[in-house]
């Protein structure tokens, strides 16, 4: 089976997927509540899509296709409210965050669905250790080649998304000192990292993908865990490096940031080169480790620059694009993040203030409800 055709459509549409944590409100550990939540949510129309994820303590929501930031934010808010209401009726807490700070992966239950059971059999403990929670943002592309161009042109901005969304400082009960420890878990998979540097869809589909498929290693695009990957059946590229933020408001802002960036890159049309990837893994590490305090190396100019300054400069550059797209509010949200810190910083602060990991998760659950922030 060859790779399906890229269903090109309207450019710069966007859609968001959020993987969320289901938390026990007594001990604030993860709880296997996905089946009960899905049952209850299935009894009335859900303002979006909701589905199970690989372990029973995760749930994934996804929005419709949007062009407008306000509409995206509105839908995410409605889905959040529906989830919170269902959680209240079942005594289940729902929260964001890229990792659960103290869950023990060995105690996670794999959701009863053939694909998940197959993955579990193949990857063993990796599948359970993959109990991490990401935000995926899809951007619609006018053509498959445009998709591949944007995918590679975005590589220089990838650390921005990691730092702005980072919300996974704790893992297995300890502060990892990373702002995003989640991405380290993703890196353990053999097919993670970046997509091969190919700019023409036929080279990608008939060359790279067909060869990989004939090796038997992959069957579909789903088997690649790349940071950004094309999604031919949607006609989108999908950014996968973001931790799920603690609030849907920030998730919407990140999606709008990507949309504005893509608009700018499409208009500028600067050529991309494989050498841009020389500093890719280094910058990625810096953003994971230090968040907004990271120091990046510019892929072209080879000079060091503070990630914080780079984000601010980009936000300024994007202002006219956001004005056209109607997402100026989103850029304001991100400016505040740059000024006051990302969610990883909030989590560390709560950990210190409220005395411990459970108090921190409690605060994260309340943040997701919209009680705070």
């Amino acid at each position: 089976m060859t790779l399906e055709a890229f269903k090109a459509g309207e450019a710069l549409t966007m859609g968001v997927e959020l993987e969320l944590q289901l938390v026990d409100l007594t001990d604030f550990d993860l709880t296997a509540a996905a089946a009960d939540m899905l049952f209850l949510l299935g009894k009335q129309p859900f303002p979006g899509d909701v589905k199970p994820e690989i372990t029973e303590s995760m749930i994934e929501i996804s929005t419709d296709v949007h062009t407008d930031y306000g509409a995206l934010l509105g839908q995410l808010g409605q889905m959040r409210n529906a989830l919170v209401e269902a959680g209240d009726r079942l005594n289940v807490g729902i929260c964001g965050g890229g990792t659960h700070p103290f869950q023990r992966w060995s105690e996670q239950r794999i959701f009863d669905k053939p694909r998940f059971q197959e993955l579990s059999a193949l990857y063993g403990y990796l599948a359970k250790q993959f109990t991490v929670f990401g935000q995926h943002v899809h951007i619609g592309c006018a053509s498959a080649d445009e998709g591949l161009y944007l995918l590679h042109a975005l590589n220089r901005y990838l650390p921005h998304f990691i730092a702005l969304s980072a919300s996974s400082p704790f893992l297995q009960g300890v502060d990892t000192l990373f702002d995003s420890a989640r991405l380290n878990s993703v890196f353990a998979f053999p097919l993670s990292g970046r997509a091969p540097f190919l700019l023409r869809w036929e080279d990608f589909a008939e060359g790279y993908f067909a060869k990989m498929e004939s090796t038997g290693v992959v069957k579909s695009m789903k088997d690649f865990y790349w940071d950004i990957r094309p999604k031919p059946e949607y006609g989108t590229i999908e950014l996968r490096v973001c931790d799920t933020p603690l609030s849907v408001e920030r998730a919407a802002a990140l999606a709008a940031y990507l949309q504005a960036l893509c608009r700018m890159l499409r208009e500028q049309g600067e050529p991309v080169s494989e050498d841009d990837y020389l500093v890719y893994n280094y910058n990625r590490f810096q953003a994971c480790r230090f968040g907004l305090d990271a120091t990046l190396v510019h892929p072209r100019r080879h000079e060091t620059l503070a990630l914080r300054d780079d984000v601010l400069a980009t936000l300024n550059q994007l202002a006219p694009h956001a004005a056209v797209l109607g997402s100026t509010g989103a850029l304001d949200v991100l400016r505040r993040v740059v000024a006051t810190g990302n969610h990883a910083g909030d989590l560390r602060r709560w950990h210190g203030e409220s005395g411990g990991l459970r108090g921190m998760v409690d605060a994260a659950v309340r943040t997701f409800r919209g009680d705070e922030s």
Partner: protein, 397 residues
């Protein structure tokens, strides 16, 4: 307890030997029959009791009774921690389920008991006992199987609530009994309202004081089980000395501590090794209070009560399943999981001893009901949780 029997070394070894045999029975029943270990403990206790093989002396009223009270207090404390009263605010139908299953059971059991010709007061006491679902079996089985899900959560909440209702109603009726048969108005009121209020008050006081102590010891987190166990022991002895309800006090203690975010997870659940040891003791103790002569009579009433009680609990949980946000199947399994009753009922009965009421003598059939539910109850809970798909691992593995 050991000191008293130093003169007879074999008699002194009776309890440790019984614990060993009960442990073996529990492991065997778990490994070969995949049944809950607690069933093995209960069976061993009954077989070894004074009325049967006679290894164990009648334990009621001995210092072992205090240890058993300590054991159940630890369970109720942990249960209290897991009770989220906010849930009732968000899910009113769960509150309705709780009231209907508890008081519905009270009414149908009362009717059945009267139908079997029981006098009004013993019938009322039996009905009050039947309301409760023993949290010991529920929590133990749930912890052993590492359960999580709606059936587990609802079982634990409903069990906590119906135990509180059972204590309220039981104490009130016992007070009324004392009033009509011997004492005056004062002892009756004392044994119901005051006991309940003050017991809860003592529990709440502990709930405020102990976390403060913990915070002073070190700032949050870490292993708090030792100090919590000591505090619970203190709570039990204090409430005993003052003749209040250790059961209620321990439950409220846990409930209040929850809001200071001191809760167990993972290995601490069930108070670890201490909890496991005391659970064996508790089940052996509870069934060793029963004798064959109590069990051998009143089979008709026992069977009838068992059937209507189960039907009522399952019926109530099914009736409000949809309204409270789960499917009818999970509702039915919740009701089934509420079957255990015995350990809690026996300890509740123990506390009426000082009032001079011997309920076992008054209610033929209670002995058999208690023994049957002690053996079948945990099995029902275990099967319900496994059928609901909420077990994290199978028994015995």
């Amino acid at each position: 307890m050991m000191l008293e029997s130093l003169g007879n070394p074999l008699a002194g070894m009776a309890w440790p030997l019984a614990l060993l045999l009960a442990w073996l029975a529990g492991e065997a029943i778990s490994r070969w029959l995949s049944l809950p270990r607690v069933c093995g403990y209960a069976l061993a206790g009954f077989v070894l009791a004074s009325g049967q093989l006679g290894l164990l002396p009648q334990p009621a009223g001995t210092p072992v009774a205090l240890l058993a009270d300590f054991a159940i207090a630890l369970v109720l404390f942990e249960l209290g921690q897991r009770i989220n009263l906010n849930w009732l605010r968000h899910n009113r139908w769960l509150a309705v389920t709780s009231l209907v299953e508890a008081f519905g059971t009270f009414i149908v059991v009362l009717l059945v008991a009267r139908g079997f010709g029981l006098a009004p007061l013993p019938a009322l006491l039996l009905a009050a006992l039947a309301m409760s679902s023993s949290p010991v079996a529920a929590l133990r089985v749930a912890n052993e199987l590492r359960c999580s899900g709606q059936v587990t959560e609802r079982m634990l909440h409903l069990s906590a609530f119906n135990c509180v209702f059972a204590v309220l109603v039981f104490k009130a009726i016992a007070g009324y009994w004392v009033l009509t048969s011997a004492g005056g108005l004062l002892p009756a009121l004392w044994s119901s309202l005051a006991v309940i209020g003050v017991s809860a008050g003592i529990g709440a006081m502990f709930g405020v004081a102990v976390p403060t102590l913990l915070r002073w010891q070190r700032r949050g987190g870490g292993d708090a089980t030792v100090i919590l166990a000591i505090a619970t022991l203190l709570l039990v002895t204090l409430t005993h000395a003052l003749q209040f309800s250790a059961l209620l006090a321990a439950l409220v203690f846990g409930l209040v501590v929850r809001y200071r975010r001191i809760v167990f997870s993972g290995a601490d659940r069930g108070f670890g090794t201490l909890g496991s040891l005391l659970t064996i003791l508790l089940f052996v103790y509870a069934s060793a209070t029963l004798s064959w002569s109590q069990v051998a009579q009143g089979a008709g009433l026992a069977l009838a009560v068992l059937v209507v009680r189960t039907l009522c609990k399952v019926g109530a949980c099914v009736a409000f399943a949809g309204l409270s946000g789960i499917g009818w199947r999970k509702g039915a399994l919740t009701g089934l999981a509420l079957t255990p009753m015995s350990v809690f009922a026996i300890l509740l009965l123990e506390q009426t001893r000082h009032l001079g009421i011997d309920v076992f003598a008054q209610v033929a059939g209670l002995g058999l009901l208690v023994l049957a539910l002690e053996l079948l109850g945990p099995v029902a809970t275990q099967r319900a949780l496994i059928l609901a798909g909420e077990a994290g691992r199978e028994e015995g593995s």
